[in-house]
């Protein structure tokens, strides 16, 4: 429901006026995210603590003002965009690491803590928080929980969901809850915690998050392996896993991505290769020689060219190929349709080939790379955003892309979330009953529809 002057006034009356702003600069600065779409809110609240959040939710329910929780605004699905002109809750002010418990290997944080800051802080104590979305230097733990963020390390370590022990927060009508007991095992009723994780701010708002930590790996080795055959590259994932190698990172770039990077950065890549795998293994220092030997032997079976990096500087150089992928794509268009499909691993080669056919058939610049170990492929369609004809062509291409995803038993998003960007493709990606159940859950948790409306569902 839009933030009309009348209900906004009622909303403000229910909160501490000091945390609300409707000045044009603040409003504009909360109107966008990494989708580069602009939706202007009626105002922005910046809570300082849980009491502020409770008041915000109660006031919003009473005044029927919709709320849009926001971390750093780095999402690619528009999850934090205030699509109906309500009020943005900016959580960047709640950014304290409340406690690090080394004995139980946990960290309790507020939602606005920057992911990298948490990682750096716990690493000083020999601990490790593995989820590493690409935006980890700026994105927040609250945003990561809301989107169930992943990252390259999730093949071995899992996604954000696997590290959340409990959530403290408020329901849409301002009632406090604690979901999860802070224990690894918890069978006390329905698993509300996991329902909230990845709910994109549509069911509840979090103010305290207890995270599980693991011991910090002592050492890392990085391999890049170039393949002449796409099937060999994808088959290598299983080869490694079957030999007991669980790469901490397993990145994939197809020929289109390699060509784009070479054209942009001139790194001397042999672009006749069909694909490259970037394989990172980590662990205890004493086990690394053994792991290195097995990994190298596996890769040597089918890879045409293998490079190994043991020290940090060499590893940085090898990562350059992957890091240059995003900027390299800009040469192919000023606008990017940034999709992050996920398909079962066995279907990756066929899916990639279909994407190539799609690109050729529709004349689209499709560049694919991603986290092959978990079947998550970032499909990027670059185009001229100023051309209506181009936009229509990309729209048409996206419909076909998601048809391919459905055919290969995949999901429309592996880590970016649905938000507004993919909600039109969600019904066809789910069975009707699941879709209906999800909408019922939303109605149950948020009967007045004030929490992040317009997202995920129609």
């Amino acid at each position: 429901m839009p933030g009309t002057p009348t209900n906004i006034d009622r909303f403000i009356a229910g909160i501490d006026r000091a945390i609300f702003s409707a000045d044009p600069v603040t409003v504009t600065a909360h109107a966008y995210d990494a989708t580069n779409e602009f939706h202007y809110p009626a105002g922005v609240v910046r809570p300082r603590n849980a009491a502020d959040v409770a008041a915000i939710l109660r006031a919003a329910n009473e005044s029927r003002v919709s709320l849009f929780p926001r971390g750093a605004g780095t999402g690619f699905s528009g999850g934090s965009l205030p699509v109906d002109g309500g009020v943005v809750i900016d959580f960047l002010g709640m950014n304290r690491i409340l406690d690090i418990d080394e004995a139980s290997m946990t960290a309790r944080v507020e939602p606005g803590v920057v992911t990298l800051h948490l990682q750096e802080t716990v690493e000083k104590r020999g601990l490790y928080y593995p989820p590493d979305p690409a935006s980890l230097k700026i994105c927040t733990i609250g945003g990561n929980v809301a989107e169930n963020a992943g990252g390259p390390h999730c093949l071995k370590y899992g996604v954000t969901r696997d590290y959340v022990l409990s959530l403290d927060g408020f329901t849409a009508d301002g009632r406090p809850f604690g979901a999860g007991k802070g224990t690894l095992k918890d069978r006390a009723g329905y698993d509300l915690k996991h329902l909230f994780i990845g709910s994109e701010g549509t069911l509840a708002v979090f103010t305290g998050i207890l995270l599980r930590l693991v011991p910090k790996p002592e050492d890392r080795i990085l391999f890049t392996a170039y393949f002449r055959d796409l099937d060999d590259a994808t088959a290598m994932v299983n080869t490694l896993l079957m030999r007991g190698i669980a790469p901490s990172s397993l990145e994939f770039m197809d020929r289109s991505a390699l060509q784009a990077v070479e054209s942009y950065a001139k790194l001397g890549i042999n672009t006749s290769h069909e694909a490259v795998l970037i394989v990172e293994i980590d662990g205890r220092a004493d086990e690394m020689p053994h792991l290195r030997g097995i990994t190298q032997a596996c890769l040597a079976q089918t890879a045409a060219d293998i490079q190994v990096a043991t020290d940090k500087r060499e590893q940085e150089a090898l990562w350059e190929v992957r890091r240059k992928a995003s900027p390299a794509m800009r040469a192919f268009g000023n606008k990017k349709a940034n999709e992050d499909i996920v398909v079962p691993r066995r279907n990756i080669p066929a899916c990639i080939r279909e994407l190539r056919d799609l690109a050729q058939r529709e004349g689209l610049n499709i560049i694919s790379f991603g986290h092959i170990g978990d079947g998550n492929i970032h499909v990027n369609i670059m185009y001229d955003g100023t051309s209506d004809a181009e936009r229509m062509r990309v729209e048409h291409g996206l419909k076909q892309l998601f048809t391919i995803v459905n055919r290969y038993e995949g999901a429309v998003s592996g880590e970016h979330g649905i938000g507004i960007a993919k909600k039109r493709y969600l019904p066809a990606n789910l069975d009707p009953v699941s879709y209906d159940l999800m909408r019922s859950i939303k109605r149950l948790f948020d009967p007045n529809g004030i929490l992040n409306p317009g997202k995920m569902f129609y």
């Binding site: 600069v25 109107a31 990494a34 602009f38 700026i138």
Partner: protein
Amino acid sequence: MARLKSAQDLQERLRRELANCVKCGACMAFCPVYRLDRTETSNMRGKLALLQAIETGRTIPPGAVRKALSRCVGCLTCRATCPNKVDTGLATILGKWHHAPVGPVGSVGQFVARLLRRSAVGRSLLVFAEEQHSSGMRLAPIVRHLLQMMRGRKCAKIYNNTNNKSGGLLLVPGCRLAGNDASCGAAVKLAEAAGLAGDNRPGEIFDGGCCGLPALAAGDLEGYADAVSRLMDVLARQRPQAILFLCPECWYAWRLAPELCELIPVEQSVWKMGAEFHAALAASGWQPGIRIEGRLAFHEACLYARGGGDREAPRRLVERMAAEKPVRSFREGTCCGARGGLVYDDPGMARRIAADRLDELRAAGAETVVTHCDRCRSFFGRQPEAQGMRVTSLLDLLGETMNHG
């Protein structure tokens, strides 16, 4: 006479830069101001979004836009980290100029500042006022400081080449180093060693005028063009073999000239003489006469490093002068806090940024901090966190090690 490009060209350039920002947020990661206050408009994405919103018809009061654009230390880390190569420095300059005019009262101030910058004494006074604003100097140092600046008010010196009287080295020390004869002398010797222009002997000292950077920072493009034009006029007459800038701000203003001004061919040829001093010196094989004991750490200057890519050569020079391997304490975007509008609008925040950086350098084990910007040196040197550490400029250290050879 260099003149400002047409308003249409400049607006088009601004639109191009804004269109290149995809709001990915990569620039936010190392922004020293955003790191501390976590306010979206403190980072470059927020600033560019404001300008983009105005371009698409949103009404935002110019004063508010100017305030948001000025909440910046001008470190250009955003430029260095942008995957789409948005020229953030240029975009904010153009944004201030086009969308955040200063208003009638500010225009008078801008006009007065422009007049002051035309005279060497006026410039000295402006620098003096600026330094006062950001520090709590006591009276005796204030007087000493003022007198030193007045001494060296002529900010450009031409050193004639003994073999070729038609030209030589033009030294542009900038307002801060103009009175520092030792630094200027060392710079000329080093320039000879770098092969920029040989066999120099002191020649004419003249007032080349302001580099135009202060006008740029204020979004006063007419004032900048005025400064460029005056400088070009003098240089076109002098026709030096090479120009050596000792101040990153002058150097950056110089580099932006072809972006913002129409230059005639003669000016273009002079413009290209702004030689890359550190790279030339490092490549020349120059070796110091002595090595500096203790752990050195290099702090790079924003406008040299992120504004023009002068990053590795100064480090190589520091390594040569160090008795032991310099410590590397380097997070991109770490900044001394002393540039941009922040130092005026929120000096407390500027000092926090400097303190953070100094703490980081100390934690890395630095005993001597070497920077290639005199503003960084001066601002760091005034912070309590610098106690017990030596803060010096690369030029002074080069001079020191050279003189012992």
